[in-house]
Amino acid sequence: MSDTPMDSSKRTWLIASGCAGAIGGVATAIPFVSTFQPSERAKAAGAAVEVDISAIKPGEKLTVEWRGKPVWIVRRTPEQVAELSKIENELADPNSERKPGEITPVYAKNQARSIKPEIFVAVGICTHLGCSPGDKFVTGPQPSLPDNWPGGFLCPCHGSTFDMAGRVFKNKPAPDNLEVPPHMYLSDNKLLIGEDKSA
């Protein structure tokens, strides 16, 4: 430090201009950071999808794309529907009570997590880290699955398992059940995915 006494008014102005510069810097950064947001085109791409489900046989699954995500439509067999009530104590959230309104719409907040018991609609993306689980509809022992496997879905990435209603099993990496997208029936065999009556 030099021996010259400090000029306090000079210091005040130095601090003031430093602050002004910092504010300018932050203001300039805002547009740059904003460019990271989804573009208008990406936002507009979220239109609803109409699906004809008449061709799906019991025990089969149809995958359609909605907002770039896979949406599954499964026509469950009566045995698969009956199985849903037997395994509730193995599930983390059997009654879809977590994050109300976010994961499960009100009209699907039942044991089968669907409007019609046999037709199950869900976003095929694991709530853990976004992989798409694979179909494991065959019951019984098989690799990566417990011996009393009741049928459902297995995520290949981190081994989370879901039952035939997309409900996650206990003590798995995925924290939540599979998301049920907003959907409604236009007629008996016409399903609209992405919109429901509440919208």
Partner: protein, 466 residues
């Protein structure tokens, strides 16, 4: 500022030119400080090849990267095809691309060896803390660089790997989902994501990386290199003021490193020419299938260099969170009963641990998995202050310390292996043990590194002339 130097008019043209430059730019001075008069310990061993090799791989990656960008198209519709175009239609394109893809794995092999060297010889200890911290920052940059580069071929593994890693950020409470949206620029990984990752991969991260490499070397040359004995060679200087156990980096180590470079290139080129995929480890088979947002491949795993950390992520289940809570509670009990800490310190510990346990049970295991994965890397930054051993080098530590290090290395490799495999119950259990050991190894260092019978550190480095 140097004074303007006049040179004798009889000097050669070369000398006159050098003098002209030196009066305007410290060329000779830089050459001396960093090469011809940078004294490095004379007892460097095998592990000391890897610093120079990492510079070589960096250069390979930059040069091959420049040429790949000339043919690659960062567009989700054509990216996959443009990589195949490079492989099939661009003259020698396959060679450049395989050099780049093999270089990525080679970079991690070399850097892991380089870090292991620092770990066993205490090269992070005072006064080399900043050398180590710059190095850890380079490691982080390298991971970001590798991850974003892996999206560019737009294969199935690229796509789903990016999907998983970006979703890691959405596990952060409150801000997570918005943060993941900002990273992707869309609601799922898509064209916007590919474009910005391309920008980060070819411009932003390499610029930061180069700056950090310069800082790493400047910091190293300021304090001087450590060596396998952990002896400060600057403590014993000869009459000329240079360390008695030091030799100029050039020509001694430049020539020495040519051997390392030759052996490295022998292996590197063998892989490029004969096994560029290395059985699915360097280039995963699923990445030869174009990205399909509707279908995750049945088995997905990151490239091998990320798998140790990926295993730790997978190991963090609800059971693991309970185990961590119990460990935290037990350590609080231990602090209260067995240590001589002041009662205020004990109260703070108990409250801190109680808060931690509440948090552990409040947030999802998914979030803690991300914390564990990130923490495993971030912890390395604190190593200089965790190690309290009275000696630097493993050579003069108690023999059982070597066993702790050996188990650490074995478990790290096992974690890496498990991360490649599909999830299984026994695998998860082993990964949980490995994760706890990894964290215990570092977090308990202030305690265990002081224990045991230390050997006498010599005044001079041990070196047998050959």
């Amino acid at each position: 500022m140097a004074e303007f130097k006049e040179i004798s008019p009889d000097a050669s043209n070369g000398e006159k030119l050098l003098n002209w430059v030196d009066n305007r730019f410290p060329l000779s001075q830089l050459y001396k400080e960093h090469l011809s008069e940078y004294y490095a310990p004379k007892n460097f061993n095998f592990f000391y090849f890897f610093g120079a090799l990492s510079i070589l791989v960096l250069v390979i990656q930059i040069v091959t990267g420049i040429f790949l960008v000339m043919h690659y198209k960062p567009d989700a519709a054509v990216a996959f095809a443009s990589v195949e175009y490079i492989m099939r239609d661009v003259p020698w394109g396959w060679l450049i691309r395989y050099m780049h893809s093999t270089g990525a794995s080679a970079f991690f092999i070399v850097v892991y060896m380089h870090m292991f060297r620092g770990l066993i010889y205490g090269s992070y200890r005072k006064p080399r803390e900043l050398v180590w911290i710059f190095g850890c920052a380079i490691f982080l940059c390298l991971m970001a660089e590798a991850f974003m580069g892996y999206l560019l071929p737009w294969g199935q593994m690229s796509y789903w790997g990016a999907q998983v890693i970006v979703n890691l950020f959405s596990a952060i409470p409150f801000i997570g989902p918005d943060l993941a949206l900002l990273i992707r620029g869309d609601y799922v990984v898509g064209d916007a994501t590919l474009n910005r990752f391309f920008s980060f991969h070819v411009i932003a991260v390499p610029l930061v990386l180069l700056g950090l490499v310069v800082a790493h070397i400047i910091a190293l040359h300021e304090v001087g290199s450590n060596n396998p004995d952990g002896v400060e060679i600057k403590a014993t200087k000869g009459p000329d003021g240079n360390p008695l156990d030091g030799i100029p980096f050039h020509p001694y180590y430049t020539i020495h490193d040519i051997l390392g470079v030759s052996v490295f290139l022998l292996v590197f080129t063998s892989i490029i020419f004969f096994a560029p995929e290395v059985g699915g480890y360097f280039l995963e088979y699923n990445n030869f299938i174009p990205a399909d947002p509707l279908k995750t491949p049945l088995h997905i795993a990151p490239v091998w260099y990320f798998t140790p950390y990926y295993s730790m992520l997978r190991a963090t289940t609800d059971v693991m969170v309970n185990v961590l809570s119990i460990i935290a509670a037990l350590s609080a009990v231990f602090v209260v009963l067995k240590t001589a800490m002041q009662s205020r310190g004990k109260v703070i510990t108990v409250v801190g641990v109680a808060v931690l346990i509440v948090l552990l049970k409040t947030f999802d295991a998914k979030f803690w998995g991300v914390v564990v994965m990130g923490g495993a890397v971030v912890m390395l930054f604190f190593l200089p202050w965790l190690d309290h051993s009275p000696v630097k080098s493993i050579r003069y530590r108690p023999t059982w310390h070597k066993w702790l290090y050996a188990v650490f290395v074995v478990l790290f490799i096992v974690l890496g292996y498990l991360g490649i495999q599909p999830p299984s119950e026994i695998g998860t259990l082993i990964a949980q043990v490995g994760t706890i050991y990894y964290f215990g190894f570092f977090l308990l260092m202030p305690w265990w590194t002081q224990l045991g019978e230390f050997k006498q550190v010599p005044d001079r480095v041990t070196f047998a002339a050959h």
